[in-house]
Amino acid sequence: MRHSLAIVGLGMMMAALQMPLTAQADPVDDALVIDDLEMVTRTKAPEGHPFDEVRSGWLYREAETRELEADSFQNPGMLYVEQGADIWNRIEGPEGKSCASCHNDAAVTMKGVGANYPKWDADAKRPINVELQIDKCRVENMGLEAYKFDHAEQKALTTYIKNQALGEPVKLDLSQGELQSWWDRGKELYYTRTGQLNFACASCHEANSGQYIRADHLSQGQANGFPTYRLKQADMVSLHNRFRGCIRDTRAEFPKAFSDELMALEVYVTWRGTGLSVETPSVRQ
């Protein structure tokens, strides 16, 4: 009996030696300060949330990745913020207008705005995110066409606008229009299993957040840092692109960007991050 206990002990020690590869399942306890502004990376979850504490994906990343995000001079996503500023001020289209023609200085007019999307669009009778709001302005006010999904300029401009809300807590007003029913639908989708592997969003980001799936430390799957600079792709990744990637990884067909399904999911997933600071452009591996 003693003997077998000793063996079990040895097994646990061996498991402990593997720690750097696998365990250390807890997110770090560290403060994220960007340009002297402290981000809220942990906060009490809103009423009706499955977790007690809402946590930024930043807490789950490797030290080098975390440092890149914390330093605006190093953060490769800041190049896209600069590009976005150029597009903001660039006159384009038959009306001879730029974004700035109507909205002036984004640092003033767009401050905090990105923290409150998706919003209800009374004209379209559906939720609208920053990308769709940009398209709306292009079509209705500038005489231009909507951007193709994930067009480089769409990502840069979205990154720029969201960056004006850096540090602001995410907060949706679900009493707008029928936003609440889209939240309901998004919640249903969040718990629906898809694909040959039969996973729901909740299988990875709720039941197993904090665990490792291969090399990936599973976070709560929060939306507050999007668009995100992904080192692996060396490019900005939009939220709907990320959703589609996660759905594809269950070996399922994935919905179109800005489809009703993904808009509902965006409403619900964004709500799950209520109170976290907008971190755009966040950095992920």
């Binding site: 097994g11 590869l21 696998t22 399942a25 040959q196 592997l197 490792y212 070996r251 399922a252």
Partner: protein
């Protein structure tokens, strides 16, 4: 005679995910007392092949969720499931066959472990995976044979 051939063809098509027509079809696997007694292929599994299935990201990718001291040379063991060290001391081969074929039959609907030889899958399955199982019957037998070697 023509009828017989047609029948055989139909049976073969139904086995799209499996390699051989005399494998037990996924929906014919008999789960009793959290076990599947009969081999899915009638042939013994090969533990060396099974170890490959366990690691390979395109096959079982079991290492994505399970730590395995026997594979300490490989990087990145997941922690979603329990470590499989000594798993053969805890489970009989017939139970391991049930766990790998359709973990939900053993652990309940809530488990996140995929059913590797089951067609009870999620919605909107990718077109190239529709009607197919993740592993073939022989690959399940190979993995079971490999797990049966994991004693402490």
């Amino acid at each position: 005679m023509i009828k017989v051939t047609r029948f055989l063809c139909a049976a073969f098509v139904m086995h799209a995910g499996a390699a051989f027509a005399d494998d037990t079809a996924p929906d014919k696997v008999m789960y009793e007392d959290f076990s599947v007694q009969a081999s899915l292929t009638g042939k013994a599994g090969d533990p060396v092949e099974g170890a490959k299935v366990f690691k390979d990201r395109g096959l079982g990718n079991c290492l994505a969720c399970h730590q395995n001291a026997d594979m300490s040379g490989d990087l990145f063991h997941g922690t979603v499931g329990p470590a499989v060290d000594g798993v053969a001391d805890r489970w009989e081969p017939a139970q391991l066959r049930a766990i790998v074929s359709d973990a939900k039959q053993v652990f309940g609907e809530e488990t996140v472990m995929p059913g590797f030889y089951s067609l009870k899958v999620g919605k909107d399955v990718a077109k190239d995976k529709a009607g197919k199982t993740i592993l073939s019957a022989q690959q399940v037998e190979d993995v079971v044979a490999y797990l049966a070697t994991l004693k402490e």
